[in-house]
C-alpha cells in the first residue's frame, strides 16, 4: 500500500453563525468569525489517496488525473466563492472547517475510486495555526 498526497489551495469567504441566533449570540459563541460582513481564508487542501503501485507505470494513479478530479469536484466549486452561500455541497451546513473537510471527502470519495485509488485523508488548513483532518466515517 502506498499513499499519494496532492496539495491544492483556494481562496474563499465564509462566516461562522447559526441562522436561528441573532448577531450578539453568534458573536458570543463564534467570536469575530461570526462577522456578518464575512471574512475569508487562503485554504490549503491536502488530498491523500492510497492503493497499490501499478507495475505497468510505477504509479499509484497518474497525478494529472488526481489533480483533475480535485479541480472538477472541489476547486471549481469553492475557489473565489462564498462557502456559506455559493457552494452546493455545503448547503444547509455550518461553514466550519470540520464540515467543509467532511463535505470535501464526500465529494471526492467516488471520483477517486474511479481513477483507481481509495481516498485516505482530507486535510484542510484554514490558517497557519488551525487544521482539520478527516479519514472517512469508519475511521
Amino acid at each position: 500500500m502506498i499513499y499519494i498526497t496532492r496539495r491544492e489551495t483556494f481562496n474563499a469567504a465564509h462566516r461562522l453563525f447559526k441562522p436561528e441566533w441573532d448577531d450578539d449570540r453568534n458573536l458570543e459563541v463564534f467570536g469575530k468569525c461570526s462577522n456578518p460582513q464575512w471574512h475569508g481564508h487562503n485554504y490549503v487542501l491536502y488530498v491523500t489517496v492510497k492503493g497499490e503501485v501499478n507495475p505497468d507505470t510505477g504509479f499509484l494513479v497518474n497525478l494529472k488525473d488526481l489533480s483533475l478530479v480535485i479541480q472538477k469536484y472541489i476547486l471549481e466549486k469553492v475557489d473565489h466563492k462564498n462557502i456559506n452561500i455559493e457552494v452546493d455541497f455545503m448547503a444547509g451546513k455550518y461553514a466550519s472547517s470540520e464540515n467543509l473537510a467532511i463535505a470535501i471527502w464526500e465529494q471526492l470519495e467516488e471520483p477517486v475510486r474511479q481513477i483507481g485509488a481509495a481516498l485516505h485523508c482530507v486535510k484542510l488548513l484554514e490558517t497557519e495555526k488551525n487544521s482539520v483532518e478527516y479519514y472517512g466515517k469508519n475511521n
Copy 2:
C-alpha cells in the same frame, strides 16, 4: 542604520470591482476576484522600520511597541473584516493589494515615528504567489 521587520497575519474578505460597472464587465476585467458574494485571504503583512540602534537597550525599537502599533492601527481594523465595506481607511478605494499596502503605510507612518523609528517598507502577501511592496511616496 538597521532594519527591523515584524510579520503579522490577518484574515479578511474582499472583492475587486468598479461600482460603476455591471457584474459582467467586472468579471471581464477582474476575473473571479470580482465575485459579488466575496472571497477572502489569509493576508501576511511584513512591516519594516529603520533607524539607529539605541545604545542603552541594543534595540532599534522595542518589538512589543511595534507589535502594539500594528495591532492598534491595522489588525484591529482589518482582521476578520470585509475590506471593501468595513475598513475606514479603505473607504472609497478599490480593495486591491496595491491600494491596501499603500493605505497601511499611511496608517503606520506617524505611529511608527512616535515609537522612535522610520517606516521603511510595507509588504503584503495576498496569496503564496502574489505580493506587493510599498516604500512611501518618495521611493
Copy 3:
C-alpha cells in the same frame, strides 16, 4: 471522527546531559547539545485532538478553548524558560524532545478531555530537521 490540530510556538533554552556524568562524557554522548552554558530552540508544537463534530456548532471543540488549554498548561510554563531548570513538569527528566513531547501529552490529556475532545497526538519540532510525535502510552 474528526481530527483538529493547533500549531503553537515557544522559545526555550535547554541542554542534554546526565548529571552523574562529567562534561567530557556528556560531550561524547550528546555532542554540542550538552553545552553547559545552554543553547535553545524555537520549538513548534502541534496538538491534535479528536472526536465527533457537535451538530449544534459544526465544531469538534471551539478552537479558542483548545488554544487556552495549550496556553495555560504548556506555553505559560515553557515559553522563554529553561526546560531543564524552570519547567515543573520536566523536573527530574532529561530535556530531550522525546521526554518533552511525552510530558506535554501528560499535561494536556485531562484538560483536553474537559473541553470535550480526546488528545490524539503531540508533535514537537525542535529544529527544521528534527521532530518527535507521541500518541499516548497505549499507541
Copy 4:
C-alpha cells in the same frame, strides 16, 4: 512508543518513461515528465522511526546515528545523481516517486534496526504539491 522524524533533502535528475515505448507514447502517458533530456527535483525526504525511549539517555535513538544512516544508505547514492541511471537500488525500476520511496524504505529498514529503532514511514516530496508515503509492505 515514540516516533522520531528526520528531514533531509537531495537534488537529482530523473525521467518517467517505459523503455519499451517510443518517445511519443511516453509523452502521451507521462507528459512532460518523460522528457528524454531529463528534468530534476529538490527532493525532500522525511524518515520516521519508532520505538521506546531509552531511559539512560532520554532518546529513542541518537539523531546523529539516524542522520548517518540516511547519509550513508541514501543521500550518498542519490544526491546530485541521475535516479534512472546512477542509483544502484533503483536499477530496473521506473523512477517514479512511489518506487523511489519504496526502494528507500528497503535500503533503510535493516540499518535503522541496527541503531535500535524500527522504521515507521518514508515520506518523499517531489514538489511542493506532490508527495508519497510508504509504511512497509504489511501496512
Copy 5:
C-alpha cells in the same frame, strides 16, 4: 511607485561544467554539481515589477497578464527541461543560477514593459539554501 512580485516554480535538470575541461577538472571546480549524468532542482522564481498604480483599476498590472508573460517567455521554455541543452536563451552559457537569473531578466524586460510595468528584480532559488538576485545591468 509600487512593487508587485509573482512567485512561480519550475523543475529542470542541469549540470555545471566547462566543456573544454575533462570530467576530473570539472569535478575539482564544480564538485558534485558537475555530474555528467545531470542532476536537477525545483527552481523557485520571483519576478518583481514596479510602476504606478492605475487609478482606474487599483492595479499596477493585472497579475493575470504578468503570469501569462512569465508562462510564455520562461516557464514554457524551462519547465521539465534540461537547462544546458534545451533552453534557447541559455545556449552557449554556463547553467549557473547567476547566468540563468540574468538570462531570465533579459527575456522578461521587454514583455513586462509591454504590459505597462518596469522589471525590477529577478530572484531565483536553486535550493532552500542558495538564491540569486539580479536587478538589471545598471544596478
Copy 6:
C-alpha cells in the same frame, strides 16, 4: 552586479538584560526575554554578497567557499552556544538581534572580500515573526 544569498541556521541561548539593572527592572523593559535562566532560538541567517559574474565559471563566488566562510567565522562560534557568555565577537554587547546582526557583518566583511565578493546584507531571523537586516555602516 549580481547578488547571491546563502541561508544557514544555528541554535543558541541568549538573554536580554542590562547588567547594571536588577531583575525587576530588566523584566520591566525586556519582558520575558530577560529571564535570568536564559531562553533560546533557532536563528536563521541569510548572508547576501554581491559582485560581477566570473566569465570563467558563471559564478560570482563558489558557494562552497561562501559556505565555508560562514561556517568558520560565524557558525562555529554561535551554534549551540550562549550568545551572552560564549561568543567572542559579542563580548560586552547586549545580545539583541540588532547587535548580533551588526557583529556578524563585522565578522564576515573581510573574509567575504577575500573570496572575491562584497558583503551586501546580513539578515537574521530570531523567530518567525521578528527579523533584522543590516547593510553596513554606510547604508
